[in-house]
Amino acid sequence: MNLWLIPIFPLAGFLINGFFGRRMSRTLINLVAVGSVALSFAWVVKTLLGLAPLETKYIEHYFTWIQSGALQIGADFAVDRLTAVMLMVVTGVGLLIHIYSIGYMEHEGGYYRFFAYLNLFMFFMLVLVLAQNYLVLFVGWEGVGLCSYLLIGFYFLEQYATTAGNKAFIVNRIGDFGFSLAMFMIFRQFGSLDFTKVFDGAKSMPSEAGYGTLTVITLLLLVGATGKSAQIPLYVWLPDAMAGPTPVSALIHAATMVTAGVYMTARSAVLFTHAPISMDFVAIIGLATAVVAATIGLAQTDIKKVFAYSTVSQLGYMFLGLGVGAFSAGVFHLMTHAFFKALLFLGAGAVIHGLHGEQDLRQMGGLFKHMRITAITLLCASFAISGFPFTSGFFSKDAILVAAYERAPWMYWVGVITAGMTAFYVFRAWFLAFTGDYRGHAHPHESPLVMTGPLMLLAALSLFGGFIDIPRWLEPMFAEKPENQTLAWVSAGVGVAGILLAYVFYVAKRGLADSFAKAMNGFYTLVLNKYYVDEIYGALVVRPLVAISRVVLWRGLDAGLIDGTVNGVGARARGVGGILRLLQSGNIRTYAAWVVLGSILVLIAIGFVGGAR
């Protein structure tokens, strides 16, 4: 089925735009960038139709990439039902965001560069989901990290953007370190990195004996996943990543790349299910991230920051789903989240675009009459993320929460409270932006069709995407979880309560929010400052590291030891030379005498040794 064509289209787009984009017209750049993704999407659809119903895994082997002793890595792509979901999400949402970007980036510099990076990102993301072994997955994994870095730092003249890019890259390195170690352990344990071989090996492992190893492996994989998918303790890079252009936030930092950790964990489900301790870790980290990020989201004033923390929180939900064994629910939420979170970001982008770059919610308000389409589509997304009945978020979030209830009821209740907070902060943002009176100074205007078109499509997906029954589709791979209507309605009810609360606070009784914030001053300050996590990390990790690097590594080791050694050798050589050069009298007869003397000494030496026999 020529799976390799799927990622190769965006790669070609990247090469064309990257090398020749500077001299190409905008129309041509658009054609190449959007066209390549459209072709990729078309090929995905064609492939999946051709492979349907995809009961078993379809594998393509291209060539042996690495052959070294027992290590054999093939350049293999594969499609199964999980990959199919990811392919549709990545190329589908990716295509919409590419189209949207044409409008959003219209007035920006570096137009061709933006689309080249975006296409490169698509290439690596598709490699990531198509991979049939851990190393090829890792190639995609690192590649999307690179593109994320490049796009966060897209406005590279701004200090904050480059800093945010560096932060994202460095924090991700920590996760990748864990992932690399996990791969080493997997190879040691199973002698291969191929998914089929590894999972078969894990299934046939003697029960108690191998569990320790599997626990270590999965915990290390989890470290990798927390880095890429912005979970505690490595989530700090994602909010800062909002320094990039908004379509990038939508595509990379909400819909696709950050879900790579979820995908990888779901892909490694066999390993995780054999390591119950790791499963608990995944669930607890997911739940903690969901709660912490949601509380931070309550007080943010930057519209993109609100949605960024919302993304972290929703990713926490996905990990909760994975951790309680509901892998299909986690992937389901991944998909619906891709719809409504991409929409939230694109909508926020439309608002920012319409306000000429204003991102502060306090400078918005009353925008409904200026940008109707944006407001209504954003409202759809807000309902979906709040888990309003029969929107997409309702089905996926409740699938996770019900599964969490099966595992431990307290997890369910914490999750439900978080769902309430989610509904509250999302609607807070919506009300602040679109209702009341306009508080800013720009001249708001609606975005062109090239931007609102994708918004409307995504709004439809956010509302009705829940009827795509992903858990059933994934049933051959992951056991389906029991349903529980009552619990589902309880969490939906809490979501609606959150919406109403936001309405009361920000529409019905305006002053209430401020007086409430004053009443809970301590907590409010804490949340507003994001629990001071950045400051704590700065004090505990970054500054000591910089200080040690500067004092010990730079001044001590580099300047002192290494430079000292090299300079010392040079200085000694000069010193010795300074003494030896006194022998150079310039008098040729003296030299001649030295030669004769030397010869005689050699002769005497030979005589002592016993002559050359």
Partner: protein
């Protein structure tokens, strides 16, 4: 071999020639004489080679002496060129006056 010259005579002659060469090499001031002293040493060595080759009935020594001659010829070409240049620049052949390499 009826009345052959004893091998020691050749070696002594060679030693004397070599000694003269060393002495000239060290004591003479004229650069050309120094040069000729080097040639003298080389040829003293050649004589030793030939002597042993003749006595031991082995061809190696003679071949070696050819090599020495070739080297001597090459050395003469380069050496004389250097001497000419030195003379051109300094109008002297006294090696004590050519001491600009000091320190």
């Amino acid at each position: 071999m009826p009345t052959s010259v004893p091998i020691s005579w050749y070696l002594i002659l060679s030693a004397i020639l070599f000694g003269l060469g060393v002495a000239g090499f060290i004591y003479r001031r004229n650069i050309i004489t120094v040069f000729m002293s080097i040639e003298l040493m080389l040829n003293a060595v050649n004589l030793t080679f030939i002597t042993f080759s003749y006595t031991l009935k082995q061809i190696d020594g003679q071949i070696f002496s050819f090599f020495v001659m070739v080297v001597a010829a090459a050395e003469a070409a380069v050496g004389l060129a250097i001497i000419l240049t030195v003379f051109k620049n300094r109008q002297t052949l006294m090696i004590d006056d050519v001491s600009s390499m000091k320190y």
